[in-house]
């Protein structure tokens, strides 16, 4: 990487009223992506050798986990306490809560287990908003086309149609749970148009949309009489029937006392979220501490097919400075409201509302070619020009983006006065477990919803579709799981699928030393060096 300017020098040279040249034409987006997007880094990809996706491309660090040994075998099950339930929801974020509420609304007994605390998730950090085609002149068809186009036409049209069709009803359901959204003076929901969209379609609650959603859903779940919640209870393995072909429960570890518990059920809904905390390709992440891809590992070992394992979203505007917020997000809403991206020379270099993968690739290009801004802790980035936005629309940042201002206030940084240093950050797993419109995977009894599921966003997700996806498909999975055939529960619970995976690993000559799921990043363990740029 060529060296650009230091943070101090760039800040001294920055002027919020400097004349800007027009943004250069983007002639060849494919070459830009192929040259600079992290998915195309040399050595980043490998091919899977075992499991339903054998032969498919997969990111290398993820492949290591998908082709790893389980933590437990049959001996560990002896003596474990057994609990029965109708529906087991794994994960306490937005998708898990929506699934639990939908299943409980239909009379199912629901047990929701979560690795950390209910609500500790990526949902709570979501800022920008949720998409729903509600404005006059906008349609579900347009929403569908935007989603498929931005995803490079790799998404499953049936899933996308289901999601966009759910949009308006999802917003109504959220309001019914007690969620607030920003309104215009006339009472309409306020909408924004973001990258890759043909109409204003993002509804939001300031830049706290995820926080508002998560605290409302958490309260809803905790107060629901039909839902029991177990915190600090990661799933260490799923359970299968004696042929290893049907999911009949899960084995839970306890982060508080280290014990193991068995849950028997007719339906398991995986809502475990993404994998940013694997720090793929050495990138920082916007994700919460539990985002370690556990659901992918569990589903794959059980025999579920996955998709787009070589495609991840690096959000263009992750914070570089201050250092304790490295990788944390600045919502795309700031660019949607009109903020520009500037390189170290104060020049615009990309249309800021291109899809996220293209904007990220352009930022990485600027940094690599010596037009980046370097911090003394080893970070590099470009400016998000918030002071210019404040000049053109005074008061806007305070009214619409309080989180942006609050998060850095206690370290003395005011984005209204100095621009924000940003660099792409590992944000979202575009693919995941293959599902149908009911959230059902290829394995009977196993459902998936939210970021752990794939097929909706293709190879690039646009803003606001994640929150719609988690609620829409969370509810779909909850409804389907509650209605699933009641075959008086599983007769026998086994780890036959684990034995099968172990045989496959041995036959393929792969080592049995690595164990998965990861559960928490290594750097959170005592004595380990913390992860830094």
């Amino acid at each position: 990487m060529k060296r650009g300017l230091t943070l101090q020098a760039a800040l001294a040279a920055y002027r919020p009223d400097a004349e800007l040249a027009p943004v250069p034409e983007l002639n060849d987006p494919d070459t830009l992506l192929n040259s600079y997007h992290p998915d195309h880094l040399r050595g980043s990809m490998t091919k899977l050798t075992i499991g339903p996706n054998a032969g498919a491309d997969c990111q290398r660090e993820l492949a290591d986990l998908l082709q790893a040994e389980a933590f437990i075998d049959e001996a560990d099950l002896a003596g474990a306490q057994v609990t029965d339930t109708d529906v087991l929801v794994v994960g306490g974020g937005g998708a898990g809560c929506a699934a639990a509420l939908a299943a409980a609304e239909r009379g199912a007994r629901v047990l929701l287990v979560t690795k950390l605390r209910l609500g500790d998730s990526n949902t709570v950090m979501a800022e920008g908003g949720i998409q729903a085609a509600i404005e006059p002149g906008d349609t579900a068809q347009q929403h569908m086309q935007d989603t498929l186009r931005a995803g490079h036409h790799a998404g499953d049209p049936a899933l996308v149609a289901a999601m966009v069709g759910d949009g308006p009803e999802v917003i109504r359901w959220l309001i019914h749970q007690g969620m607030q959204f920003d309104q215009t003076a006339s009472g309409d929901l306020h909408t924004r148009k973001a990258g890759g969209m043909t109409a204003p379609r993002i509804v939001h609650c300031r830049d706290y949309t995820g926080l508002e959603m998560m605290r409302v859903l958490r309260e809803s779940v905790k107060q629901h009489r039909g839902i029991e919640v177990w915190d600090q209870s990661p799933v260490v393995e799923l359970l299968s029937n004696e042929r290893g072909q049907k999911c009949v429960g899960a084995v839970l570890g306890s982060l508080t006392d280290g014990s193991m518990r068995i849950v028997r059920t007719r339906s398991v809904i995986l809502a475990t979220g993404g994998l940013g905390r694997l720090h793929l390709n050495g990138f920082p992440t916007s994700n919460h501490i539990g985002a370690t891809g556990d659901g992918l590992v569990l589903a794959y070992r059980m025999g579920a097919r996955l998709c787009e394992l070589d495609s991840f979203q690096y959000h263009p505007t992750g914070l570089v400075h201050p250092p304790h917020l490295y990788g944390k997000l600045v919502t795309e809403g700031v660019r949607a409201a009109g903020a520009f991206l500037l390189n170290a020379h104060g020049q615009r270099f990309i249309d800021e509302l291109q899809p996220r993968d293209i904007v990220s690739a352009a930022i990485i290009r600027e940094c690599r070619e010596g037009r980046g801004i370097h911090t003394d802790t080893g970070g590099v980035g470009v400016w998000l020009d918030t002071p210019r936005l404040e000049r053109s629309q005074p008061g806007l940042l305070e009214q619409q983006f309080p989180k942006l201002l609050t998060r850095t206030r206690h370290v003395g940084i005011d984005p209204r006065r100095e621009p924000v240093l940003v660099h792409p950050t590992l944000h979202y797993q575009n693919g995941g477990v293959v599902i149908d419109v009911d959230g059902a995977t290829a394995v009977p009894g196993l459902y998936a919803a939210g970021e752990v599921a794939g097929g909706i966003h293709g190879r690039n997700r646009i803003m606001g579709n994640a929150l719609l996806d988690i609620i829409g498909f969370g509810r779909r999975a909850g409804i389907a799981a509650a209605a699933a055939e009641h075959d008086r529960g599983p007769k026998k619970i086994t780890l036959e699928h684990v034995n099968r995976a172990r045989r496959d690993l041995t036959l393929a000559g792969l080592p049995l030393t690595q164990r998965a799921p990861r559960i928490l990043p290594a750097y959170t363990a005592a004595g380990k060096d913390i992860w830094k740029p």
């Binding site: 950390l116 950090m125 109504r172 929901l189 605290r215 409302v216 919460h288 003394d376 802790t377």
Partner: protein, 210 residues
């Protein structure tokens, strides 16, 4: 960390009673990880919005509470990670509240402590987000739920205010209740309702002409 920053003198402090040598600019959470404090699971988003990493902090004679992911190490500081909040005492489901006219009465049934505020400011001092907690509770107790809810916009549900309240008011939940019923009873956006009505008509037409 780069080599140069390793030469800066370490900050010495106590975390959960364990002596830790941390680098300046580290947060309490980072210092706990780097300093060998046994695994702490009360950590979530690392950006101050999930409310999990509740800590008790002592600086000299001053004791306060804070969030560990946005509190920085200081020489001689003592920090203690607090357990997750206790189970809620209040119980309600929005669907039980069908009538907006008796909502004040229902509120005081659900949160009987809310009208007993002693104005001790414990909740205000303990709030890591600078929320005017006490005023917010007073607004809710007087039935001004919209304004009360707005006061709690930035609430991350860490419930540190709850632990500071001698009357056990559960201010964070009072704020959340205020926000939720405001949406539940009053948020009726014309553009959304119009679109839902369009969809309903389309589906009705489809049913009539199979």
């Amino acid at each position: 960390m780069t080599e140069t920053s390793r030469n800066i003198p370490a900050v010495e402090l106590l975390i959960n009673g364990i002596p830790v040598r941390a680098e300046p600019q580290m947060t309490i959470v980072e210092a706990a990880w780097a300093g060998g404090v046994p695994r702490i699971t009360g950590v979530g988003c690392l950006e101050g919005v999930c409310g999990s990493c509740r800590i008790l902090v002592r600086r000299g004679k001053e004791v306060n509470v804070a969030l560990g992911c946005e509190t920085f190490v200081e020489p001689g500081m003592e920090a203690l990670f607090l357990p997750a909040p206790a189970a809620d005492r209040h119980q309600y489901q929005l669907t039980d509240l069908s009538d907006g006219w008796d909502i004040q009465a229902r509120f005081h049934e659900i949160f009987p402590e809310a009208s007993r505020c002693r104005h001790c400011h414990g909740c205000v001092k303990s709030c890591p987000k600078g929320i005017t907690v006490e005023d917010g509770v007073a607004l809710a107790a007087a039935g001004h739920f919209r304004e009360a809810g707005e006061a709690f916009l930035e609430c991350v549900m860490c419930e540190l205010c709850d632990s500071a309240c001698p009357e056990q008011i559960a201010p964070a939940h009072v704020g959340l209740f205020s926000r939720r019923i405001t949406a539940f009873f009053h948020l009726r956006p014309p553009n959304l309702i119009h679109k839902l009505e369009e969809i309903r008509k389309e589906q009705a037409d489809k049913k009539e002409q199979p």
